[in-house]
């Protein structure tokens, strides 16, 4: 019965969590624990589809970026034929790092230790002293870079370390419908405005993942200044309004906040709105046009947010879109990667305005981001203590609500925006991964 390589304490906690989540209980301990972290590297990040890069980050042949899945550094490169490949960024000879930059362009990678050379598609093609040292006996084809399985949706490149993982399409399981709000801004779709900024935080990645699975509950308090000063187009009185949707069993969730009386797609330039009538389906249009805030998370650790920010108190503001990755680097420790996605076909001045709004609200110096992380490092600190190990948190919001009938999109949809249905789905999915195989 016992889970191999798992302590009795953690196994017990996971079993109780599996029972508890449907009843609205989640143990504090999962948010800061070394053993949980190490188990996640193997069971969550070793199994799930994890985000690597957006195609617009490597537009030309030879372009590459280096990213992470768990603690594995991965090269994501576009080969000369335009095909994208992902490989562990480790030389097969003695394990040196091949690409030491975050981005670049190269058709071949040459190792700086003994000089083995690989094509950007992973094949080993150069071995010094192949005659003298190897007597031609090394089978080059067996020693290419370690391949990582990839697939993509709407420009998002995902990778999985699990050869037996289901397809990305099945993994997303309908969440694509909602991702389009971020990825199909206008006919040309979305592109990154530039490289992400990233930073380290003493935060557990799961706290962020939960928050972006649709935590509309925190906004009026954690970002109270925005309401107070009139920089955010919502009010405490109506802030709970909107919808929450998740894909049962998959862990993905999104919150769609609605501000009564606001014009459709407010904060977008008209011509972009016009484009979206073509780029989006009727069901998407109906839903997204009413959406002030779209805050969603793809299990495990990729999030998105669309939201307006006002530069003048009270005006509806400018809508911006951010994509963020929570990269775990230790117990209660992560790297935050934050991108701004802009509509490819939007006017340049809108792109600039949206980017400015993004930097003012998100990214390391963003005023919303700042407050989120301040809260999150404190949650992480507190949940690491011995007393917290005995504590469950309540996840009962919307526990006995019925899902909405004839909701335009797939998945399990409820009203209002402020609820915890998405979180329960996130945690039951997470615990299933953690207990995999037992």
């Amino acid at each position: 019965m016992a889970m191999p390589g798992v302590s009795a304490g953690v196994e017990q906690m996971l079993r109780e969590m599996r029972e508890g989540v449907p009843e609205g209980r989640v143990p504090a301990r999962i948010f800061n624990d070394r053993e949980i972290y190490e188990l996640e590297l193997e069971r969550v990040f070793g199994k799930a589809w994890c985000f690597l890069a957006h195609e617009s980050e490597i537009p030309r042949p030879g372009d590459y970026v280096t990213r992470y899945i768990g603690n594995n550094n991965i090269i994501v490169a576009r080969d000369e034929k335009g095909e994208i490949h992902a490989h562990l960024n480790m030389c097969r000879h003695r394990g040196n790092m091949m690409c030491k930059s975050e981005m670049g362009n190269a058709s071949h990678f040459r190792c700086s230790y003994h000089g083995w050379v690989y094509k950007n598609s992973g094949e080993l093609i150069g071995v010094p002293y192949f005659n003298e040292a190897y007597e031609r006996k090394l089978q080059r084809k067996d020693w290419g870079l370690v391949k990582v399985r990839i697939d993509s949706y709407g420009g998002l490149i995902f990778g999985t370390l699990d050869p037996d993982a289901e397809s990305l399409a099945d993994y997303l399981g309908g969440f694509q419908f909602y991702l389009d709000i971020y990825l199909k801004q206008g006919l040309g779709g979305s592109e990154v405005h530039g490289p992400p900024d990233h930073w380290v935080a003493e935060t557990d990645w799961k706290i962020c993942a939960e928050n972006f699975s649709g935590d509309g509950y925190h906004t009026p308090v954690a970002h109270q200044f925005g309401f107070h000063l009139g920089y955010f187009a919502s009010s405490g009185a109506t802030h709970s309004k909107g919808w929450a949707v998740h894909i049962p069993g998959k862990g993905h969730g999104i919150g769609l906040g609605h501000t009564p009386g606001m014009p459709p797609f407010f904060g977008y330039p008209d011509e972009l709105v016009k484009q979206m009538h073509e780029s989006l389906s009727p069901g998407q249009l109906e839903l997204f046009s009413k959406t002030r805030t779209a805050v969603g998370n793809v299990f495990p650790n990729l999030s998105f947010l669309i939201q307006p920010l006002s530069l003048e108190p009270g005006d509806p503001g400018v809508r911006f879109c951010t994509m963020r990755l929570y990269h775990p680097v230790g117990p209660g420790r992560m790297e935050m990667w934050s991108w701004c996605l802009v509509p490819k076909d939007a006017p340049q001045e809108y792109k600039e305005a949206a980017y400015k709004a993004y930097t003012l609200a998100f990214g390391q110096a963003g005023t919303f981001e700042q407050d989120d992380f301040e809260n999150w490092i404190k949650v992480t600190k507190m949940t690491g203590s011995t007393l917290a190990r005995g504590v469950d948190f309540p996840y009962i919001q919307g526990l006995d609500r019925e899902p909405l009938k004839d909701f335009p999109g797939p998945g399990y949809a409820v009203e209002p925006y402020v609820t915890e249905d998405n979180f329960r789905n996130l945690w039951s999915t997470w615990v299933r991964y953690m207990m995999e195989g037992e």
Binding site: K100, S101, E102, M103, G104, H193, G194, P195, P196, D197, H198, W199, V200, A201, E202, T203, A222, H223, Q224, F225, H228, L229, Y231, L311, E335, C340, Y355, K356, T359, L360, G363, Q364, A365, T367, E369, Q370, D371, F373, E374, N375, W376, I377
Partner: protein, 173 residues
């Protein structure tokens, strides 16, 4: 010789250096309104995103991505926020200390504007966390004479890290 740049009159250099010290004192004493007053109405405040690139890459400081991309108006947005009781990232406030060194002043083609190079090491401590954040930045400011003092027309600061070791940047550099 490349180690010589046209330097300016000692009084100007010293007065600008003192101005930078006064500016950072305002920050470190959290007199944010005083600090704002150091900026010209048309001021820009920029911190580019740094990317780890190979030696000869065309750029290391992203031409498009920024951590701060502010005007005086948006700086005021930030200061106004810090003045509320809900700026959680600064509640309790960070303890900062700006170490300004290597100040070099160059003339520009405008008689009343000067290009000012400085190194800025920012020490930041919060709560009972024993390990401070230390930020290192190269600054290139454009300063304009304002009466017998100065105003910042352009503050450009490049942080010397690509992965920044702090949970947020709720302070100024």
């Amino acid at each position: 010789m490349a180690l010589r740049i046209p330097l300016v009159a000692p009084e100007i250099r010293d007065s600008i250096r003192d101005f930078l010290y006064l500016e950072s004192l305002a920050l470190d004493e959290r007199r944010f309104r005083d600090w704002l007053s150091a900026f010209a109405e048309d001021a820009r405040y920029e911190i580019p995103v740094r990317v780890t690139r190979e030696k000869l890459a065309e750029w290391e400081l992203s031409p498009t991505s920024r951590i701060f991309d502010d005007t005086k108006q948006t700086l005021e947005f930030r200061v106004e926020r810090l003045e509320t009781d809900f700026a959680w990232s600064e509640q309790p406030p960070s303890r900062t200390r700006h170490y300004i060194t290597n100040v070099l002043v160059e003339p520009t083609d405008k008689a009343d504007e000067f290009r000012v190079h400085s190194n800025c090491l920012v020490y930041r401590s919060r709560g009972d966390e024993p390990n401070p954040s230390i930020f290192s930045a190269q600054r290139k400011d454009l300063l304009r004479r304002a009466g017998d003092s100065w105003q910042i027309v352009h503050r450009w600061a490049a942080i010397d890290q690509s992965l920044i070791n702090a949970h947020n940047l709720s302070i100024f550099i």
